[in-house]
Symmetry: C2
């Protein structure tokens, strides 16, 4: 095994990827914003199972953050990220500079309409345009055979799937299951923001979603009653303000009254003290 490479220049990354592919090797891309945790490790390992070479991009993408969001305080532990990536089997870390990704006269944005208006898209205007734009740029720089995304960011998965289809991208998309702490909390780089009390309440999101799954499996199809199970759990988290609890169609991302499989049950809260945004989801009656 050769040591992991760290590439910052997009043109160099493009050439490196071409070199791999000319040598007959397939390339898997894991786009991340760094602050790697076990969820990212599982994405890297998924890429490794499907491709000869794993490229992990580490780029805190400014255009997917709103003006009042946590872009500047987002954690950037680059050295330990590189160690974690290498130990997980990553072959190349691609960590471009912001100015190389977005020169001052950058003017091109990829908008995915309709399915971005609900859930996180409603709370974070422009967020998914930022995501779609950077992911398309990464696809074009790395030209991977496969790219791996975490199901924890469920709407992001659906947006990228739609974008890739609509723009005829050739990359195979893989959506890896959410990795959780022992108490059920979905792993997220933002969990590090939580206060001790918020951290204690945080597993209630998944507890609520799990109740909804149990109800669904016992035959409940009313979205209102499934939502209520999630909301009841969120009410027990006295430190949280609910942003949304929704049961949506997996293709249209529009709210359902009655669940027809597969549907996405999704929740977002903001914590009262540290103002941390937490999201989680489960798929009812299907998979990604």
């Amino acid at each position: 095994m050769s040591p992991m490479k760290i590439v910052t220049n997009p043109a160099e990354m493009k050439n490196l990827s071409i070199t791999f592919q000319r040598a007959g090797k397939t390339v898997g891309l894991v786009p991340t914003m760094g602050a790697l945790h076990q969820g990212h490790v599982s994405l890297i390992k998924t890429a490794q199972r499907h491709c000869d070479i794993v490229v992990t991009s580490i780029f805190v993408n400014p255009i997917q953050f709103g003006p009042a969001e946590d872009f500047s305080k987002y954690p950037r532990p680059f050295e330990s990220d590189c160690s974690a990536a290498e130990q997980s089997g990553c072959d190349v870390v691609f960590a471009p500079a912001q100015d190389d990704m977005y020169p001052s006269d950058h003017a091109t944005y990829v908008h995915v309409e309709n399915i971005t208006s609900a859930l996180c898209g409603a709370a974070r205007p422009g967020h998914f345009t930022g995501v779609a734009t950077v992911v398309l740029k990464l696809f074009n720089i790395v030209s991977p055979q496969a790219a791996v995304f975490g199901q924890k960011d469920a709407q992001q998965c659906l947006v990228i799937r739609r974008m890739a289809r609509d723009l005829n991208c050739s990359v195979k998309l893989l959506f890896a299951p959410t990795v959780r702490e022992e108490d059920g909390l979905a792993m997220s780089s933002r969990n590090s923001y939580l206060s001790a009390q918020e951290r204690r309440d945080a597993p209630l999101l998944y507890a609520g979603l799990s109740s909804a799954v149990d109800l669904y499996e016992s035959g409940e199809r009313s979205a209102a009653r499934l939502r209520e199970a999630i909301e009841a759990a969120c009410r027990r988290a006295t430190q949280f303000s609910v942003e949304y609890v929704e049961i949506v169609d997996m293709n249209t991302v529009s709210p359902l009254a009655t669940v027809r499989s597969p549907a996405l049950a999704a929740v977002a809260v903001r914590t009262n003290l540290t103002k941390t945004r937490l999201i989680d989801n489960v798929v009812l009656g299907g998979t990604f």
Copy 2:
């Protein structure tokens, strides 16, 4: 020489292009809306000089037409287009169906900001989003090493160049000079709409642009005086209403007061009887 192929299915086109490239052949793309004329022939021949295989796409792209524009009446002489393409040295005509390019839940659009707000972008809201979106789709379907566009659609060239840079596309862009009738009229599929009188006046656009070039070459740098030379010619065309006469910066596409090379002198008119939109341009002090 093997006979020209006609491909309608995007997945089949993608596979065919991969097959060419695996065989070590480079692919050049000429995106067109059909109704091929000598201008298109020159694009095909340019592609042929740079690449082993020439793919000409023929697709009247609905999303680049406004609701009051000529989408439905746009000429579609498919049989004679195929003959013309083949005679020009084209290897593959890619002519997808509208539903294959835009399924009913198509939701993804590529917006290029700023440089699309002046000139044709002002008169045709959404036009360049439609152009950028379809061109990116074609790039992803054909994955060409080079793509050729006509300088007659100057702002389109600048928009595609910006998009390709911003989205890290790997394709080499070639911009071929405008091909003109003997009297100077820029070749265009829309020239067929003109009445006899409009056709007689149409060369005045290029006459005006040529006067501006002469003035520029004799040292004139005032955009107002250069514009006036073009406007004077347009006034002689009594059948035309001027939409814009502008001298703009080649990078920002914003109007200049004083010309610093290279600048784009561009004109658009609409004819009074047949409501045909004619555009033309020249570059002052430089090239594309």
